[in-house]
Symmetry: none
Amino acid sequence: MPKRAEIISIGSELVSGQALDTNSQWLSRELGSLGFPASYHTTIGDRMDDHIAAFRLAAERTDLVVVTGGLGPTQDDLTREALALTTGVPLHEDPASLEAIAAMFARRHRPMVERNRVQALVPEGADALFNRVGTAPGIWMRLGRATVACLPGIPSEMKVMFYEQVVPRLRQQGWVERVTIERKINLFGRGESDIEAEAFDLTVRGRVPEVGITAHDATISFRIVGEGATEAEAFLQTEPTADLIYQRFGDLVVGEGPTDVPEAVAARLLTTGATLAAAESCTGGLIAHLITAIAGVSPFFLGAVVSYSNEAKVELLGVPRELIDAHGAVSPEVAHAMAVGARDRFHADLAISATGVAGPGGGSVEKPVGRVFLGLATPFSVETRQLDLGPEQPRDIIQRRAAKIALNWVRLALLPWPDKPD
Amino acid sequence: MPKRAEIISIGSELVSGQALDTNSQWLSRELGSLGFPASYHTTIGDRMDDHIAAFRLAAERTDLVVVTGGLGPTQDDLTREALALTTGVPLHEDPASLEAIAAMFARRHRPMVERNRVQALVPEGADALFNRVGTAPGIWMRLGRATVACLPGIPSEMKVMFYEQVVPRLRQQGWVERVTIERKINLFGRGESDIEAEAFDLTVRGRVPEVGITAHDATISFRIVGEGATEAEAFLQTEPTADLIYQRFGDLVVGEGPTDVPEAVAARLLTTGATLAAAESCTGGLIAHLITAIAGVSPFFLGAVVSYSNEAKVELLGVPRELIDAHGAVSPEVAHAMAVGARDRFHADLAISATGVAGPGGGSVEKPVGRVFLGLATPFSVETRQLDLGPEQPRDIIQRRAAKIALNWVRLALLPWPDKPD
């Protein structure tokens, strides 16, 4: 009988629909893989009696209660007080937490207001959970037969604290025994239904290991769930299925886990030592942003010109003005010249360019919204490609698709490049 | 006293975290604007006793219970049966629903399997809700003192049925009289606890209209909930509070509703006719991306140079190489020269620059991770600013904060600019 978990999300912005709760989903997946299937998600606002009732009910019906939110310094943040009231103990100030909060403010060169002191309060008998990335410490305590972990509602803080504070304590408690791992193999360059049709044998129900397909931002992911006494054993169970996917889908496979197209490009730049530049019009800096979001890419990504105006295309990328006059800024000829200009001006091995109509305005019969030309200049060749990503798609989707297809082109171009010697 | 609502989402794919529940947020917003603030979201899987307990609890503590999911034809779909068990009545087949289901299958040229007949079952005394866009009819019934509406979990079906079946019945019941609207006023440039400390009089409980504070991506939002017999009256109720916020926080106010810093900059560029360019090092294209994500900005945003390499700073922005050698690429001197270079090369009225250490590597004692220098060149002056956003923050937060603070600086610089003549 696995231990059951409940996730309680606190925030009037959540019950009112002002904000979307994504923490519960994330926590459910993580808890599930640790062997605690979540049985309930409960979301409440900022009424004290709702807090107490929710904590009581959760502690009655589950073994592990993970609470997010309500740990801030404001009057609406009731989690600390509600837990104390539920268990009938007073709150006391945790000196280590107070010190950590003060240090956090000092590091940020901001004065600590008196109100932030309340964040150092924990119910008597509870442990404060250290928050390395924010001001609000978490809380770890028993409530009846259940264990309660309270984490901040800010997703980035919540995730760090879950891994660093909650998981180790669950292990210490001897609650994490059987290990489930999920391997995610990411593919890019073909539609979901196409890939699904080629993978019916893998996704059939009851298969061991289980395989699911999900799609995010045009990347299709196979998720393989392996189980075992140890992580290594669970991983081993996934191996034959992973091999099969790699063999069947070849170059469509971008990578595993968090490796999507930009990460794969960055990794390939690192191993080949090739350098990259970009010339962006309709993608408006998104190609550069996707690559520079990755740490350690500086030596290989030399930069980009976002040439939103025609003048910038001419002056900063050396695109001949006559070319723009003759073919228009959205044309294969200009995409070609932008790629060459970026390659030469940045002295890069490769340069990728994008020019198109991101919409919603600016489309015409010859150049509808969603028409994008990409250019790829390498030391050996210059090629262009035409994409039609509209016209019914919104601006952000057209920009994101164009940037991702452009980077995927760079990835494919780098595959045959030799690795640099160590 | 407004009638309170609870939203119950049913599906093991939701509690397990396999799928993200977006229905609850959507329903909360809709219910809120109709005058039924949602007080609870509850998510359960496919256990019968959880269904019954959740329905009972919801009917005790709220007036209106909206259930989504669990109306399909499979064995896991327990909503119908659970409602019958909760109220102690038998299920019976609704002839109109059966006919509608059969007709739907006929239209789709698919055989109707026997299992689909169960979708026509409703608890005795309940009404079936016609589903124009799918096979599963909904259910409308009383449970104790509460009204229960069950809708399919598929968002597109749920939304159509909410508007077509639920809202008219709420009106018929005389339950939709008052209108609630929510106004969101967004501030940027100061911390949440600072602003909270200056707004205690506004956020005090029981105030009319009610004011809440939320933070997203360093933007702090006041949410004012107004109520009235009409939308106009509800809006009017928010006016004095909104005025007060505008007066008290002055230039910190970025805009209302979806207007965050980039949108405010874009709007100001449009009304002044000023042109903007950017020179980005550590932000890697994010400033340009945030601006170009907004439609219609092309005439005013001329472009950017993402000068990740020192060569690019020298060659594309005209930063003197000696300046980089003397002060390092991360320095006020280089931020200054980058801004001037971008302003001049793009022939822009304003140019914003950013150079810094986004981390996680590359930090030093003199230039720790998170140290960023911004430069702002206008026709009248060039200024630089130093930011310290780390060192404990992850790379993406440092990049996002730096880009947003940079754009906010542009916003503030554009405030005194005269609007262009019509």
